[in-house]
């Protein structure tokens, strides 16, 4: 799976969005799409499991998880990709 596919799969399983993950654009606001702060925690934990890494402290903020693009940037920053 590509990074994007993994992110979308995690979102599908844990973000509890009000809309299907396939309908999300790269920059769709996930919080606007119904992801609660509790759900965002589960997304973060699932991403750490899927990519087998830990987000650094400076990435643990709401904006890191606000869109597919933001999550990808956070994942790439963490993996050094």
């Amino acid at each position: 799976m590509t990074v994007d596919e993994t992110i979308r799969q995690v979102l599908a399983e844990h973000a509890r969005l009000a809309v299907p993950v396939e309908s999300l654009a790269d920059d769709t606001d996930l919080f606007g799409a119904g992801m609660t702060s509790h759900a965002s925690v589960n997304v973060m934990l699932a991403l750490e499991d899927a990519f087998d890494f830990e987000f650094s402290e400076n990435l643990l903020k709401k904006s890191t998880f606000e869109s597919v693009a933001a999550i990808r940037a956070g994942v790439l920053e963490t993996t050094g990709g």
Partner: protein, 390 residues
């Protein structure tokens, strides 16, 4: 912005002192009547308004006092010592003002802030809703905006002092299509505000806060919606300011109890000079805990003042502010109970100068208003992702 002629605006630097004077001369003498009858502390609020103290947190350029949260906190400790119901009302008001100041940026909201200062408006809050199970971070009601005006109906299980307020800041879904978590805050004010009371407020403590339920119906200019999402307002301002100011009120309750206990022990000592009163050691013990409480409030205020917007949004800060609430609401009960052991039956009776009945009843509310279990559940969730050693 013109200030109403009968308001003398108190500026930063004098806010805490003026609040303390009103606490001693107005709130204290009325406290038992407010408590017994479960009525709104009108005389205290009138006295605060006359000195411009409801706008203490409004910046100077909008005609307010220009004070910070720390100074208001100090004033609330003084007020909490004399009448905890009054202090809770004032604390809840200042929390709403802080949200307006920090998150209301458009011209209409800025203009409204000037009105709050000029007319000494009292602001109430409606964050909880029937059907959400006490979770303030989700709403069922939604704004309907047409032609630049909003319409809203909310079933609010509690709006404290709503009948006395000049406006209510209400949370709602952004639109009828928005998910429950996509919330905004809107200022609802007369003439577009209608409140239908549901039930009565006849509670163990904080009886003067008049926290009854309401069906709220409102219409108004859509620019009265605060621009920032409620989630951000909650994290950066409403939650920390609420926990800081509530903790200050509860510190006031605890402080008065400790002062009464000290007077009691000193009176005992005077009766038998040279003999250490039996409760003196217990007084020394409770004074240690009281000092912890004071230091915790002060350090939390400093932490809030030092945080930038990233800091305010950080998990460590949120966990810390939640810990403050849980700790303060627990300590106030512990301290009042210890002080009752020191004063003995004189504190249990309702007709002595050492009576602590009202203190105990008010203190018990602290852990229930936003239940500590809910706050601990939030912290448990945040601790799953907290990194570092903060």
């Amino acid at each position: 912005m013109a200030v109403e002629h009968d308001v003398v605006m108190t500026r930063a630097g004098e806010v805490a002192e003026r609040m303390a004077v009103i606490a001693d001369t107005v709130a204290g003498p009325a406290a038992d009547d407010v408590d017994r009858r479960g009525r709104f502390p009108s005389e205290t609020l009138a006295a605060l308004k006359a000195e411009g103290l409801l706008a203490a947190l409004v910046p100077l350029e909008f005609g307010g006092g220009g004070a910070g949260v720390a100074e208001v906190s100090q004033g609330l400790v003084a007020l909490g010592k004399r009448c905890a119901s009054s202090a809770m009302v004032v604390a809840m008001h200042h929390i709403q003002v802080a949200c307006l100041v920090r998150h209301g940026r458009n011209d209409v909201l800025r203009g409204y802030l000037g009105e709050v200062a000029a007319h000494q408006y009292l602001l109430a809050s409606a964050t909880t809703e029937v059907g959400t199970g006490g979770d303030v971070r989700s709403s069922i009601c939604a704004l309907e905006v047409t032609d630049g005006r909003f319409r809203l109906e909310k079933q609010a299980p509690v709006i404290s002092y709503a009948d006395e307020a000049d406006a209510v800041l209400v949370t709602a879904r952004r639109t009828a299509e928005s998910p429950e978590s996509d919330q905004v805050i809107v200022v609802c004010r007369p003439p577009g505000l209608e409140l239908e009371q549901v039930g009565e407020w006849n509670a163990l403590g904080f009886r003067g806060t008049c926290s009854t339920g309401f069906v709220l119906r409102a219409t108004g200019d859509a620019r009265l919606v605060l621009e920032d999402p409620y989630g951000d307002i909650s994290t950066q301002t409403m939650l920390p300011v609420a926990h800081l100011l509530w903790a200050s009120v509860w510190l006031g309750i605890a402080t008065d109890a400790v002062e009464l206990a000290r007077k009691f022990v000193q009176a005992e000592a005077r009766r038998k000079p040279g003999t250490m009163p039996p409760a003196a050691l217990r007084l020394a013990d409770v004074t240690v805990v009281h000092q912890q409480f004071i230091d915790m409030v002060h350090s939390s205020l400093a932490r809030f003042a030092a945080a930038d917007s990233d800091g305010l949004s950080s998990i460590a800060f949120g966990v810390g502010m939640n810990a403050l609430k849980v700790s303060a609401s627990t300590l106030v009960v512990d301290i009042v109970r210890e002080c009752m052991l020191i004063c003995g039956l004189a504190s249990y009776r309702l007709d002595t100068p050492y009576s602590l009945g009202r203190h105990l009843r008010d203190a018990m509310g602290a852990s229930l208003m936003v239940n500590n279990d809910r706050i601990m559940a939030n912290n448990a969730q945040m601790l799953l992702v907290l990194r570092g050693s903060e």
